[in-house]
Amino acid sequence: MTEEKTTQTIVRTKDVYKTYNLGKVQVHALQGVDLEIYAGEYISIMGPSGSGKSTLFNMVGGLDKPTQGSVYIDEVDMAQLDAYELAWLRCRKIGYIFQTFNLIPVMTALENVTLPMIFAGLTTDEARDKGVQLLGRVGLGDRVQHKPYELSGGQQQRVAVARAMANSPAIILADEPTGNLDLSTGKEIIDLLQRMKREEGVTIISATHDLKMLSVSDRVVWIRDGKIDRIEQRENLNIEVGTIDKQTE
């Protein structure tokens, strides 16, 4: 299985450094990160706050550019892309899921799901049909006309998953997707993401502290002090569940 997957790299970071200037102080958020993410895998990025986890996560999601080094998405150097190409990439190649759901509060579930399709140039009718179908797939077929505040947290995150899948992306970038959900609802979202991975072959990259999330990950990347501390395969993870507990604290 891994043999086949290693043949196609979807995201690659090459010696990535990121330095933030906070007044007179320089913060070295990332210090030489080399990472390859393969198409169709479920990868989790772990690390304490301040470790550079978020920076790396934003980097592989095309939301931030490195100070030094390169990030390739689908073997295209992000630094070469102009604003129109970046917007296209975010619209078509990457689906985003946020800890705080980030549905547009003034829009119905369906309008939220169709928004990226509208950005992609679909007609209103095409987008509506596809949106209804996607909402059906995440189990919200009877909630299409509900506004976000009329939905529970889990339902909102389902809408967000449907929205992330709107333009059939190659990558889903999930930032603590279960962070604001209770245990069982979080589990449902994880199952949903796994199903999307299985059925659509989408690559899932998530930043998380959730142990449930770790156990379904193909690989876990541990970040510490702006560097990759270690990368673990799932097989090894299951054995070490006891130790993960400590490291997430």
Partner: protein, 224 residues
Amino acid sequence: MPGDGNERKQSIGRQIVLPFSKALEISLRGIRVRLWRSLITMSGVVLATAFVVSVLASGDVTRTVAADGSPAAVRALQEIGIDPSEMREVNATNAWLAVMSLMVCVVGIVMSMLMSVSERYREIGTMKCLGALDSFIVKIFLLESAFQGIIGSVIGAAIGLGVSFLSAQIHFGEILDGKWPVVAIFRNTGLVILVGSILAILAAIYPASLAARMEPAAAMRVEE
């Protein structure tokens, strides 16, 4: 391989610029949902234009009455404290008041648009993550402000016209029969509506560009 980046770059498309109607739809929805806030912003425009229109229209009326020159007209003017020989001074003061009130109105719009932008930071970041171009974000905010400006100026102009018509009726009633400076009043009113709408758009340029320049990663931030 990273080296053949240029070939693979073919696989990246360019985001299309959305039709104007989409921006229009989204900004209209924004106004509808934040109706109360919009109304408050709009009330600033309404008050300013109502004031300016009434000042200008009253000016037109008094000028007409002064030009009439009849003893009744002079008496009517003196009753409201205007010396027909000092019309020029009155006009200058009125123009100054009009400009000041429009300036205050612009500051009000800038403030409320800035608030609207900071309130929607995450929404804007999310839209950018979903593929919105900067120009689209700019359009949404400019349109929103333009609507508030246009609707507010029209309502304000109507109120201003009504008030100055009533006051002219009370003070000058018969003197004005058949002599209403209709053309001048409507020309000035049209001008005020135009200026009000343009100022509303100008006032939104800075907040809108602030919104458009925002990093999409802002959508990821949890605090708020």
